[in-house]
Symmetry: C2
Subunit: 155 residues, 2 copies
DNA sequence: CGCTTATCTGGAACGAGTCAAGTAAACGTC
DNA sequence: GACGTTTACTTGACTCGTTCCAGATAAGCG
């Protein structure tokens, strides 16, 4: 069993769910959170389908766990975001979305047509925290969103 | 405020807003839009208080024009944005905001504490349209939002 | 096993924004 | 300056995503 300490999304999750479930559980424990089925389910769902909104996560979780209340989903999303296990993004014109990739300040590329969201590595160094004038602000984050058309929507 | 002798907000509003009113009217005409009191009011309001949300704009407009329906404000904001006279921004965790500065792709700096929004010039050239990998996307805009604490909220 | 914390049921409420149908106003034309 | 078409505005109900509000039940962990 590959115990992946640093929460990197593992590409090869053979025996679907099994490994990522264990992984999710240990991440929860590491964050000092109780391990419950809904919490594990939310993490697994977002690993399988990143950048999903609350409703999509709920449906995903329900399809594998059965009945899970909407409030529980919101509670879990909130708690995990608070604990740093999830990152919440709010693209203009859509509901809040969540992703498991945390700890790095990567950015997003969004298709104006179909709305698909793709991760983009923070390109180098310069752009990421350097406005021309800070006007006295103490900045802690530079959020970059690229807008355009995805390959499928370009034809 | 420039109260009109007659109760009506007619062309007797000759004071501070005079120039910007005329200017707003000509901008509307130039865009091929009809010149109506709510539209002029919205433009003037946003010139006076940039980055305001729909509700703030509505209150501002009402204080100078009297009764204006909420729907009209939304319609106007939508129409003017469509026509390119306004730019709409949707910072995470707040309602949509509007600004009259259009035509350049400047960015924003937002205070996490008080929510104030400050314009930031697009610093140079490089950062503004260059992710490391485009993954086949046809990009048309790079939106940058800087988050931090404003001078007033830093103490 | 018991204490603590999470989740459930189910509702109500919220702000932001939209839809729909009728009324009023702007502007080119006479 | 009045007319009539087109466009804008009013009114009011409504959707959507999200949060809050209990009290009751269930589950995790020491």
């Amino acid at each position: 069993m590959p115990t992946d300490e640093e929460g990197r999304p593992r590409p090869a999750a053979r025996r679907q769910g099994e490994t990522s479930r264990d992984d999710a559980a240990s991440r929860l424990r590491a964050a000092g959170l109780r391990v419950t089925a809904p919490r594990v389910g939310v993490l697994v769902a977002l690993e399988c389908e990143s950048h999903a909104d609350a409703d999509t996560v709920a449906r995903h979780v329900r399809s594998s766990l059965g009945a899970v209340s909407t409030q529980a989903v919101y509670d879990v999303l909130h708690a995990l975001t608070e604990a740093g296990l999830l990152r919440r993004i709010e693209p203009a014109g859509s509901a809040a979305r969540y992703e498991t990739r945390v700890g790095d300040n990567h950015h997003h590329m969004i298709c104006r047509s179909c709305g698909v969201i793709v991760d983009v590595d923070c390109s180098g160094e310069a752009p990421c925290l350097a406005p021309a004038h800070t006007h006295g602000f103490a900045l802690d984050e530079a959020e970059v969103t690229f807008w355009g058309l995805c390959p499928d929507c370009r034809q």
